[in-house]
């Protein structure tokens, strides 16, 4: 086995094992807290497939996190971590609602303008922390994290003072006009046409990152920025573009969520899809082609936890514990490093024993 394959194989094994360990821990936890642990585990594992509506829930959750995870893949490809996805998904949802409410368009133009506005504005906003990083060496992680809260409070201001419907008892925007609401694809679910959009986005991002010279340049920056600079890659332009696309995708994800599943915009806090996007992208190894699988998996355990919460005595917060364990194990470079090292040593020695073959 070549070293590259060995390392790839190990990456997959590590991820699977991390998931397995996290699940086992979760089950141990359920055993401890639940009076009927087996019923709880059963509803957790099989719940998402028990009815069409529940499976619908899974797909409904899958849609926005697909966008945010793809955004993370693009943003992280340049080797720097911008976590603006969370703020973007929130602000994208708000902008989509705002445009739909106030533009007066109906049908396709209403949807298109909402999505484009959400994507474009969030894309531009996402470029701010990257600009500060490149021009003033301001920490990108901190900058993007803070900007999430700027977006949250700016969004709440707009919600309260611009698009709030005074006639309803709670804090909520005016109703989203029916012309802008996305149609559902399957009866009995709220799975909307945004699913098609998500699939299109997956294909486009995959092609962009793996098949064009633009994606190649971004990845080159990520693997060795000095080498990229030496090779003549325009670091500034590529990093800004990656941030724009990341923000754009997350913004569109927020728009898809609001126009698909909500009558009014009424998020009062960050919805969490952006953080889940980072989680999913991490599991997918930041490769767009693995995003669908990782997103489906996370959607599955989220939905399962939700059902368990409603049908048993175990709280759905449990799923957060599982996620935390998985991330720790997947992200931890040292996890299984000893075994990996032994394998590499063995492999190299075997190769050294047959120099003719390894050189050929």
């Amino acid at each position: 086995m070549s070293n590259k394959k060995l390392l790839q194989f190990f990456g997959v094994i590590k991820t699977m094992l991390a998931i397995l360990i996290a699940m086992v821990l979760a089950f141990l936890f359920i055993m401890m807290v639940s009076k009927e642990p087996l019923a709880a585990i059963k509803s957790f594992l099989t719940g998402p497939f028990s009815t069409v509506r529940r499976f619908g829930n899974l797909i409904e959750y899958f849609i926005p996190v697909c966008f945010t995870a793809l955004g993370v893949c693009v943003m992280f490809s340049v080797g720097m971590s911008s976590v603006i996805g969370e703020g973007s998904v929130f602000f994208g949802g708000l902008l989509a609602a705002w445009v739909a409410i106030s533009s007066g368009f109906t049908g396709m133009p209403a949807k298109l303008s909402s999505f484009l506005m959400a994507g474009a504005v969030c894309g531009v906003v996402a470029m701010i922390p990257m600009y500060l990083k490149l021009k003033f060496d301001a920490d990108l992680f901190v900058g993007s994290l803070m900007l999430n809260y700027v977006l949250l409070y700016l969004g709440l201001y707009i919600l309260n003072y611009v698009i709030r419907d005074p006639d309803v008892g709670m804090t909520a925007s005016y109703a989203i006009p029916s012309g802008a609401v996305l149609g559902t694809l399957f009866k009995g679910t709220k799975v909307t046409s945004a699913l098609i959009l998500a699939i299109v986005a997956m294909v486009l991002v995959y092609v962009l990152m793996d098949k064009t010279h633009i994606g190649y340049k971004m990845r080159l920056i990520g693997s060795n920025m000095k080498f990229a600079k030496y090779s003549g890659v325009n670091i500034f332009a590529m990093c800004m573009l990656s941030s724009f696309l990341g923000g754009f995708l997350s913004g569109v994800g927020g728009a898809a969520e609001i126009l698909g599943r909500h009558n009014r915009f009424q998020w009062m806090a960050l919805p969490g899809f952006g953080w889940d996007g980072i989680l999913i992208a991490t599991i997918a190894g930041f490769k767009p082609k693995f995003v669908p699988i990782a997103a489906l998996f996370i959607a599955y355990i989220k939905t399962g936890a939700d059902i368990m919460n409603r049908t048993s005595d175990v709280a759905s917060e449990l799923v957060v514990v599982i996620q935390a364990f998985m991330i720790l194990l997947i992200a931890a470079k040292g996890f299984l490093a000893g075994t990996q090292q032994k394998l590499i040593v063995k492999n190299i020695k075997a190769a050294a024993a047959q120099p003719a073959e390894s050189e050929a």
Binding site: S2, N3, K4, K211, T212, H213, I214, Y216, K217, R219, L220, S223, N224, K226, F227, A228, K229, Y230, S231, G232, V233, N234, A337, Q340, Q341, I344, V345, N347, I348, A352, E359, A360
Partner: protein, 518 residues
């Protein structure tokens, strides 16, 4: 003389990325000797020393200290065994005084506070004991480099080290500081201390050391008494090629200047000027060598010409056009190839495949792309051709560059840089640390390009290489050009050495001759 105080048997270390840093290395030092550890960059010297000092752990092999088998898992373990290390980059707190640095981690206390007087007294005591005078109350940031190094040595001694590892200690020192350091080290030897001295300066080792262990690509090439081995032998063992290797080349036919550098100065923001009013031009059809001891401004010069470092003062013209403020891309578009001195920093991305490395500068050109889309077929064809032409030994173009040997890695860099339409090639240490065969192939390629009318600018610390390959030569010393030789073939090594070490310099008029007008 005496029995080994420290020995390593069959040490193998493979890093997580698959690099074989040490391969069954035996290493042993006797009590009371100064033992040199020599080898080129990447030969495995640092790795070996890190294992003695507990920073890395060997995958195979055993370490014995004073006859006992030991496990060294951390620098603390090493210190307990009396092993101290003076790193190349000092591990001192610049804002604290010498005494405070000395006692760090074992501070004498007066109640809750540091007992400054006691710290000073202890520092002075140790300084007197070893006859290494130092001002205990001075702030470390105010000390000269040589003094900082002395603090490091004292610190190791203070902690009870009697085996001292010095990692390229002279790299940062002036000649005076170096001879002072040598005196100190000889003094320590008289007092029974053992010194492991890492260096790649042959002269210093000849002067200072008793025995020498030579490493080459992770393997030990043997242990020798310094008195009994010649400079030629050492360099042959270290580099793995005979000192004189003839390169056949036809007489040069210089054309118009391709690269013109005028009044280039750099370093206004640094402590000292790295380049002082540098003027020269490189003509097509000629190999212009830049000789000089490393660190005399060559690196800055090359980085400015290739657009990696912003220009501060002066102008650069490539092909008659002012390129002073060109981006790297614009410079590459002006048909410039650049072999950088640091393969894995600038020359390649180790975690990317050979193919990704070969197309890094032309991913958007029709050579490998159709419009915005990378063409898998074109990339495959292009890479297969380069792998064949430059004889890169690999399974295929999808192998990670990190997995290649140094020589093959360099072939990837050279293949990328020397393919295509070129008017200027900048080769910075193009054959450092690689095997004879590859070095020869690279030399032949450079001569071939020169014969086809390309201007070649060659920077090398390898005297043999620069003397054999260059048609003309300039010598850099302390940021300046101190000599120009229109015909480099008549130059002797001794003559060149005089200029490189700053003993001699030509007159301004002689140096000016290197500027050819368009």
């Amino acid at each position: 003389m005496s029995e080994p105080v420290l020995s390593m048997k069959g040490i193998t270390k493979i890093y997580g990325n698959g690099i074989l840093a040490n391969d069954k290395v035996d290493f042993s030092v006797n009590a009371g000797e100064i033992h040199a550890l020599m080898g080129e960059n990447g030969a495995g010297k640092s790795t070996l020393m890190k294992m003695i000092f507990g920073i890395e752990h060997p995958d195979e092999g055993e370490i014995y200290c004073r006859g006992q088998k030991v496990e060294i898992n951390s620098p603390t373990d090493a210190l307990k065994l009396g092993i101290g290390m003076v790193h190349q980059h000092f591990m001192l707190v610049p804002s604290l005084s010498v005494a405070e640095n000395m006692v760090l981690r074992s501070e004498p206390r007066k109640g809750m506070f540091l007992d400054m007087e006691k710290a000073v007294a202890e520092t002075e005591a140790i300084s007197q004991k070893y006859n290494l005078p130092i001002d205990a109350r001075a702030r470390v940031s105010d000390l000269a480099v040589g003094m900082k190094q002395r603090v490091e040595i004292l610190k190791a001694l203070y902690r009870g080290a009697n085996i001292l590892i010095l990692d390229e200690p002279t790299a940062v020192l002036t000649p005076q500081e170096t001879s002072e350091l040598f005196k100190q080290l000889k003094l320590l030897r008289e007092q029974g201390h053992t010194v492991i001295f890492i260096s790649h300066k042959i002269r210093e080792i000849k002067e200072l050391c008793d025995r020498i262990t030579i490493l080459r690509s992770g393997r030990s090439m043997g242990v020798y008494n310094v008195d009994e081995v010649s400079v030629e032998d050492i360099s042959r063992l270290m580099v793995g090629r005979d000192v004189v290797s003839k390169i056949d080349k036809a007489p040069k036919h210089p054309g118009a200047p391709v690269l013109e550098v005028k009044n280039l100065s750099y370093g206004y923001a640094q402590e000292k000027m790295m380049l002082k009013n540098v003027n020269f031009s490189a003509r097509g059809g000629e190999i212009l060598g830049i000789a000089g001891v490393e660190g005399n401004g060559q690196r800055e010069l090359i980085e400015i010409i290739t657009g990696l470092r912003p220009i501060e003062d002066g102008t650069i013209k490539i092909g008659g056009k002012d390129s002073s403020h060109f981006t790297v891309r614009q410079i590459r578009d002006a048909k410039v190839g650049h072999i950088p001195q640091d393969r894995l920093t600038y020359g390649a991305a180790g975690d990317s495949t050979i193919a990704e490395n070969l197309i890094s500068d032309k991913s958007d050109s029709p050579t490998v792309s159709n419009g915005p889309f990378l063409s898998a077929k074109k990339i495959k064809d292009y890479c297969t051709r380069l792998i064949r032409d430059f004889e890169i030994k690999c399974a295929d173009e999808n192998v990670l560059v990190r997995m290649l040997s140094g020589g093959n890695m360099q072939k990837v860099v050279v293949a990328r840089e020397l393919t295509g339409d070129l008017s200027l090639v900048i080769a910075d240490q193009p054959t450092r640390g690689i095997d004879v065969g590859t070095a020869k192939a690279i030399h032949e390629k450079l001569v071939e390009l020169r014969d086809s009318g390309v201007a070649v600018l060659l920077v090398s610390a390898d005297l043999n290489e620069i003397m054999e390959l260059s048609d003309s030569m300039i010598v850099m010393y302390d940021g300046e050009i101190v000599a120009y030789f229109e015909d480099a073939s008549t130059l002797t090594e001794a003559e060149l050495g005089q200029y490189m070490l700053g003993v001699q310099r030509q007159t301004e008029d002689e140096i000016r001759e290197v500027c050819y007008e368009q």
